[in-house]
């Protein structure tokens, strides 16, 4: 059966697909980054449950997603009834397509962004804080630029997923040519109707769009990586020791004065007890010790990157930390520089 390959006259599925996927990607991009950032520092209850819920649209069958959204936004659903009171409907409109596309593409954006954030060396963030950067500045100037390749990849994956969404969209947005009929829907109905040329046309179209997006991002990431590896200085961190050690620095007794550093802290760690007590006047202190002796931990406590369990840190008469009084000045306000190698 040889037929001439003709372009379908109605190109609306292309424009609808692009419109829906683009809007959904914008939503998913910002919400995904925000949620990933929030989850990065979230240590509360139900972390794994939340994590599961955020990723669930990726692993659930699209029909389940569509079914739940339909129940929620349908005429008898909570959101549907609310919207109905202002004579607005999500079901069988292109807004519905945007909602499903956002929901299904969210996990890809969120997971990729979270992974990218987790890759960032904590020390960069800590150093920025000691230099007086607010959390927002740390996020904007340090985290985002470092995580950019991952975040962009998440956005592109999300876009490709949004573009390819079919099952849930069909259930929530319906098949309305010129309004909600996206490319995947056009393919499905063309196949059902035996219009193989039309199905081929759209299948090739969507493959080209998705593939070129991903290829473009991979290319851009390679470029970024090359640039970065040229700039990046070789940096190695001292390995964390798991050996139990109790460190007690012999106090260097100095006449009590307002200028100077007073450290008297205890920090309880999982396999480590740090017990420090010293006073330092205007002089330079060098600390020598084996790996895992607590040198960095002490400095981090002074800089405010770590909080001791007990004790007090006073610098030039200013209380930086006091467990009893509940004082814990944030790094950015301590005026303590910290340089990590």
């Amino acid at each position: 059966m040889v037929e001439t390959f003709t372009v379908p006259l109605d190109l609306s599925p292309l424009w609808i697909s692009l419109k829906v996927a683009a809007i959904a990607t914008v939503f998913t991009f910002f919400v995904g980054i925000a949620v990933a950032y929030w989850m990065l520092n979230y240590r509360g209850k139900g972390k794994s449950l939340l994590e599961g819920i955020f990723v669930s649209p990726l692993i659930l069958p699209p029909t389940v997603v569509g079914f739940l959204l339909l129940l929620f936004f349908g005429k008898n659903g909570p959101a549907g009834q609310l919207l109905d009171s202002i004579d607005f409907s999500i079901v069988f409109t292109w807004y519905g397509a945007v909602i499903t596309a956002t929901v299904v593409s969210f996990p890809l954006m969120y997971r990729t962004a979270l992974g990218a954030f987790e890759q960032i060396d904590e020390n960069y963030l800590a150093v920025a804080r000691t230099l007086g950067a607010s959390e927002w500045t740390v996020f904007r100037r340090i985290m985002l630029p470092l995580a950019l390749p991952g975040v962009v990849a998440g956005g592109v994956l999300g876009f490709a997923r949004a573009l390819g969404e079919f099952g849930a969209t069909l259930m929530l947005a319906g098949n309305i040519p010129g309004q909600t009929q996206t490319i995947p829907m056009a393919i499905y109905f063309a196949v059902e109707a035996g219009a193989m040329n039309e199905a081929w046309f759209w299948a090739i179209a969507i493959m080209l769009i998705s593939l070129s997006g991903i290829v473009a991002v991979n290319f851009w990431q390679d470029q970024q990586q090359n640039r970065r590896s040229k700039l990046k200085a070789d940096k190695s961190l001292s390995p964390r020791s798991h050996r139990t050690a109790e460190v007690t620095l012999t106090p260097i007794t100095q006449p009590s004065s307002t200028s100077g550093l007073v450290v008297n802290i205890q920090k309880r760690l999982a396999n480590f007890d740090l017990d420090l007590s010293f006073t330092l006047a205007k002089s330079t202190l060098g600390i020598l010790g084996g790996s895992g002796a607590g040198k960095s931990m002490m400095l981090k406590c002074i800089a405010g990157m770590e909080s001791p369990t007990k004790g007090q840190i006073v610098l030039n008469g200013r209380v930086l930390f006091d467990a009893k009084a509940g004082i814990n000045v944030p790094s950015r306000d301590r005026k303590v520089g910290f340089l990590s190698f």
Binding site: N76, F92, G174, N175, Y188, V191, E192, G194
Partner: protein, 262 residues
């Protein structure tokens, strides 16, 4: 979880999995090598075919398996090589295609039943008294089958064309991939009205039949059935097609609202 505990759980899971599989494998032996028949049937026949299944399986040594869907979709599956033995469409068009391609076992084509089209509305919809009232501005969404693959949608389009209101109502259409999806959309209240067969309207308590469409507005709604040439169990398939024209089968069809010859 420690290693020992994990192993216990793991091995218990595997053992119970095998037990379940073993039980499943054991059951078909009691059916003594029945002949399997795969019937691809129009979605609107679901309930009636399900009722016929145990009745027929009691008398004949066959195992009936149904594949319901839009007639157009079923046709595509058969053309692409689906191993169906019998095809029952909701329109002559799909069957004609197979007949022209020589895919039917000659002499087996017969008409199962006829049907009528109806406008169903959700319980909240008011003011639908005629087909033309679908033009009313308060009717925002109308579900119909995708005309190219769903016969009910094709008939619906013919009706609007005949009444010369197709262009007015077309912007309200939501196209479903089979007639039962049209029904479901009306049931859920997410569309205001839909065009289904009277037999579909009859099985739902959540829709109201507002208008029974005059059959002069569309081509005759007929359910042709035939044995496919590809069938490896042609004899059993022929017997089942013959049974579907019997008094017993017709009684069931009639009960569901299908129109069958006296």
């Amino acid at each position: 979880m420690n290693r020992k505990h994990f192993l216990t759980v793991f091995s218990t899971t595997i053992v119970s999995l095998f037990l379940v599989l073993g039980l499943n494998l054991a059951t078909p032996e009691s059916t003594q090598a029945r002949t399997n028949l795969l019937v691809s049937a129009a979605a609107s026949l679901k309930e009636v075919m399900e009722e016929i299944k145990p009745l027929y399986q009691k008398t004949a040594n066959v195992n009936l398996t149904y594949n319901f869907g839009a007639s157009g979709a079923l046709l595509q599956q058969i053309e692409q090589g689906a191993p169906a033995d019998i095809f029952i469409a909701a329109a002559a068009r799909q069957m004609n295609t197979l007949e022209q391609n020589g895919a039917l076992l000659s002499g087996t084509r017969a008409n199962l039943a006829n049907n009528r089209l109806a406008i169903v509305v959700s319980n909240r919809t008011r003011g639908i008294t005629s087909i033309s009232s679908l033009r009313n501005p308060e009717i925002k969404r109308i579900a119909i089958g995708e005309p190219r693959s769903v016969p009910a949608g094709h008939y619906a389009e013919q009706v609007f064309q005949k009444l010369n209101i197709l262009n007015e109502v077309k912007p309200k259409f939501v196209y479903a991939n089979n007639v039962r999806q049209v029904l479901a959309a009306v049931e859920s209240g997410n569309v205001d009205a839909g065009l289904v067969y009277i037999t579909d309207a009859k099985i739902s308590n959540n829709v109201r039949t507002a208008v029974i469409v005059s059959d002069t507005y569309h081509s005759q709604i007929v359910y042709p059935m035939a044995v496919l040439k590809r069938s490896k169990n042609a004899a059993a398939a022929r017997a089942f097609v013959k049974y579907l024209s019997s008094g017993e089968a017709r009684g069931i069809l009639r009960k569901y609202g299908f129109i069958v010859p006296k």
